[in-house]
Structures are given as C-alpha cells and as structure tokens.
Symmetry: C2
Subunit: 303 residues, 2 copies
C-alpha cells in the first residue's frame, strides 16, 4: 500500500473547527487550541495477537478499540477529551481498504466524544498490525481524579457488570465511560478512580497500592455480566477477565449511599466493597463470610 495517497485520503476525510484545530494532519505537528494550562495525556497501543485478533475481528474493530481504550483512560480521570493522534504500523500486503477501515474505526470511536483525530503516522513493515493512540484531555469542572486518593472506610463501587468481555464482542464495542465519569465527578466527591481494563482484581490492586491502602470485596455483591454467567466460574471471570472498561471508584459511605439511591447514570452503579488499611491486604469475602486473600488474576500477570 502506498502511504502518501492514503495520507492524502485521510486529509480529505478530516474536517475540523478551524478555531479549535488551526493545523490538522499534513504539517510537522498539529496545532490544537485552546487547551488550558492543564494537559492530561494517555498513550496506548493495540497489538494484533494481544489486544485483538485482526483476522477474526477485522480492521475497523481494531481502530475502534484502539481509540476507545484511550478514551477509557480519559474517563478514569474524569476528564474531557480534547484531541487524539494515532500511528499505524501496517503488515505486509495490508490493503488500502483495510487501512481506511482502521482510520474509520478510530474516528467512529472518537466522534461521539468531540475528540478530533488531528494527526498521525503511517508506516508499512514486516510485523503485524500495531496501532498506538495518544489522547489529550483537559480537566472537567473538578480536578482530575487519581488512583491515589482512596481513604480508609471508602465504599468501592463499579459501573456496569463484569466478566466475559473477551468471550463476546463487548471488548470491541464498549462505550468509554467519559460522560458517566464527568457526571459522577460533578455531583459526588469521588476520591479515587481507575478504568477496568486488566481485570477487577488487578485494577483494584493498582488503585489500592497507589493509595497506600488495601480493600475487601464482597463476592456476592459483584455485578456479574451476562457474558460470564454461563461460564464454569463466573466470579473468577468477573475478577480476572478484564476488558470491561467500566469505572472502579471510591467515595465516602455517605456519598455512596446517596449515589446508589439516585442511580444517576445510564449504567447501574454497584457497591462491591470497602477500602481498608494496607496491612489487612486485599481480601475477598465469600457469601458464607469466609475471608480469603484476593490474588490478582488479570491477564497482565500471566506473562
């Protein structure tokens, strides 16, 4: 595939607000304004054979997922997307139509969030498909919500339901919880937040560790997704499958009670546990009250 005509095609597809994006694709750098003094940034790669199987899922789903993963990080900070850039490393013999499909997937995921794709880089090589997406964001009305702000006694909550995402197309078609995170942060004093990409047990460990604390989860309280209900061990799927791209967050029990009573989001919020002192360790409390250590079982720990 020739790169220059493809880049020209991308430019022909790119329509920007000239105030917000004075310089789009085609120069040495893109220019975006106004950004404000606080710039949030995340960069993530989508690798064929790791995060997607190109032969099964197709190029448009690959582009879509690559962008949605970045936007899920924006949600995790309760921030507003500003713009994105992307790079594509295309395998040998990659068709022009497939490259266009990747681009259209990227754009389809970004458009609902007013997040223009302002630049990028395309190269052909001998390796598999790799897509890297970098998303910039600005804080919402509140300061960005970090992983490190949890307090002892906080309620641990999640949006949506967990488990089995990789077994269906949900890991490709999920909606990043950008709007939900902004709504939460506006109306509630959320102490800490992370998006669930690696798996609940791993991501909760990240949040707890960043806060210098631990947590206990109630197995019975976990919202199991329908995708996981037919499996041998739905609880293990909810804890370890990952790819849910829901929000995991903590707030005071009073705030949590109010949130759970109102249920202001388009997706249900469930309280699944409590933040505790670090010395107590991560703990899973079974339906019978039995306590056991909660081991991280997300896929990142399998390598």
């Amino acid at each position: 595939m020739k790169e220059i005509p493809f880049l020209c095609w991308i430019r022909s597809q790119s329509v920007f607000d000239p105030f917000a994006v004075p310089v789009g694709p085609g120069d040495d750098m893109a220019l975006v304004r106004p950004v404000t003094d606080d710039l949030l940034v995340t960069t993530d790669q989508l690798l064929d054979g790791v995060h997607i199987v190109l032969a099964d899922h197709g190029p448009q789903a690959a582009g879509r997922k690559a962008m949605a993963r970045g936007l899920s990080d924006v949600a995790a900070m309760a921030a507003e997307p500003v713009a994105a850039v992307a790079t594509l490393a295309l395998p040998p013999g990659f068709a022009r139509a497939d490259a266009e499909a990747v681009y259209l997937g990227l754009r389809a995921a970004a458009e609902p969030f007013d997040c223009p794709l302002v630049g990028g880089d395309v190269g052909s090589w001998g390796g598999p498909l790799a897509i890297t997406v970098t998303v910039f964001a600005r804080p919402g009305l509140r300061e960005p919500i970090l992983r490190s702000g949890a307090k002892v006694g906080d309620a641990v909550c999640v949006t949506g339901a967990l488990g089995g995402a990789w077994r269906t197309t949900r890991h490709l078609t999920f909606t990043p919880r950008v709007a939900e995170a902004l709504a939460l942060a506006d109306a509630f004093d959320v102490h800490a937040m992370i998006d669930l990409s690696d798996g609940l047990s791993v991501d909760l460990a990240h949040l707890a560790e960043a806060s210098g604390l631990a947590a206990e989860l109630l197995a019975d309280a976990l919202p199991i997704h329908a995708d996981a209900k037919g499996l041998e061990d739905p609880l293990a799927a909810a804890l370890g499958d990952g790819e849910d791209y829901e929000l995991l967050f903590t707030l005071s029990p009073d705030q949590a009670d109010r949130l759970l009573a109102i249920q202001p989001l388009v997706v249900p919020v469930t309280r699944i546990g409590t933040i505790v002192e670090a010395a107590a360790g991560l703990t899973l409390i079974g339906a019978d009250g039995r306590r056991q250590p909660l081991e991280p079982t997300g896929w990142e720990h399998q390598t």
Copy 2:
C-alpha cells in the same frame, strides 16, 4: 520479560518538577502544566527493519532515535518541547536490560531539551520492536512556522550538510535542531519550514505543495555531507537519502542575505534555491545551467 516490574523500574527512574508534572507515569493519564492554550503535537513510530535495524544498532540507539525524530518535528515548527510519552511493543524474548536501554535512549534524547517522558505503555507481543513517541510542544515567541507559508521569490535555505546519513551512524546520533529553529524564528521572518527526514527532494516537494508553489534548486549550492562524498553520486545522495534531520526553510531574499552574512547558528546555513510559481514545477539547475525536473527520490516513494 515481566511488564509490571519494568514499569515500576521506570517510575523509580522518573524524577519530575512537581509543578510542571504533577502526575507522571503510574496513573491512567499523566498531568502536565502549564501548557498554554496552544498545544502542538506530533506522533511518530520507529519500526525495526524500517527506521532502524535492531540487531545492528541496538536498543539504546533505537530509543534515542525514536525520541529525536519527534523532537525534530518540534524543531520544524520552531516550537518548545513540553513533554513526551512513548509506547514500546517488545518482541519475543526481549531482555529486561534491553527494555531498560530503550527507555534510557528515549530519555537521553529528551533530556537536553527539558522534555520529560511523562508516561507510556509497554507490551510484549509476537512482532518486532516498535516504538511510538508522541511529543507535545508550545509555540516559542513567534507563531509556529508551517510548511504552507512560503512566498514566490523566497530564498530556500538548509542547515548543515546532506546525504549519506544512513551509511554512517548519523541517522542515530543527530541532534534535533530545536534550539537552532527557535533562534532562527526569533531573529528572522521565516515563512515556511520542514525538517529533512524523507530526503531533500521529497521534503521540498511537501513544503512547496503545502504552499501551493514550486521551487528551483541549484545543484552546485547543495551542501554535501562528508558521509556522501565518497559515493558514486553525492548529489543524488544529498537529494534522496533522507534521515538528515536538518531544517529546510524559506524567507525573503533580504532576510536570507542577512542570515547568511551573520551565520548565527552552531551549524552553517546555506541558500540552495528559490521559491517559484507552482506552474514552473520543481526544478534542479545543474552547474552548467541546464534545468531538469526535480523528481522526489526519498525512500517513502520507493514503496
């Protein structure tokens, strides 16, 4: 290689000014301030087998070049680097020490430009080494210099000397012309600028096309690099080898005369041609005065 311990090691290596980088690696996004309302951004990939040969050049050189390429784009806009993020896709069996070398190469290239590496993503996969670097920048004292600002009659100038970079280690060890570009833009009314990555003939075509114009080059005037002087056709090398990462820019003949008389940069500036109307086409004028069409011969046109 286990990713989590490597990420922990990176965090242990990261020391930031807490005002400029309140949130570095380890959360869902990094937070950088203050950026100003104008955000410039570039993203580029360095692919094993295309931009580097890992087995020959080694991991530290790969990291260094990946970052330096991004900073060369910052130079091309006469902008000031703010921060960078990077992703690494690591091939099977990639050693921890090699991953550390990539990181140290990235950082070594960024440090002289006060450009902190504030975040990233690391993944192992079945493909070759791929590095993507995204650099953010803010305008210097002047507006960013685009490719599209050239005017008929402008002098076409370059920094340094061209050709043969790939035949030596220069394509790995070059210094991005960030300081030189800022100095030029501060003191002279530069109309258009681009960095020479693909090759003079290709990059001049980009600049001319973006400006809706053409150019003529004087073959005799081209500064041939010592790396190219032993080759069969040093002129062709200077026109088509690429990877020089020098600046190509245009300004009025009066401004150019003053610049060439003063030579204010650490690297020589040479006038190599003139911007002309688009209808004239890109032209190379030989030592004998013979005019011939200047064909783009950079490597991007070989695919």
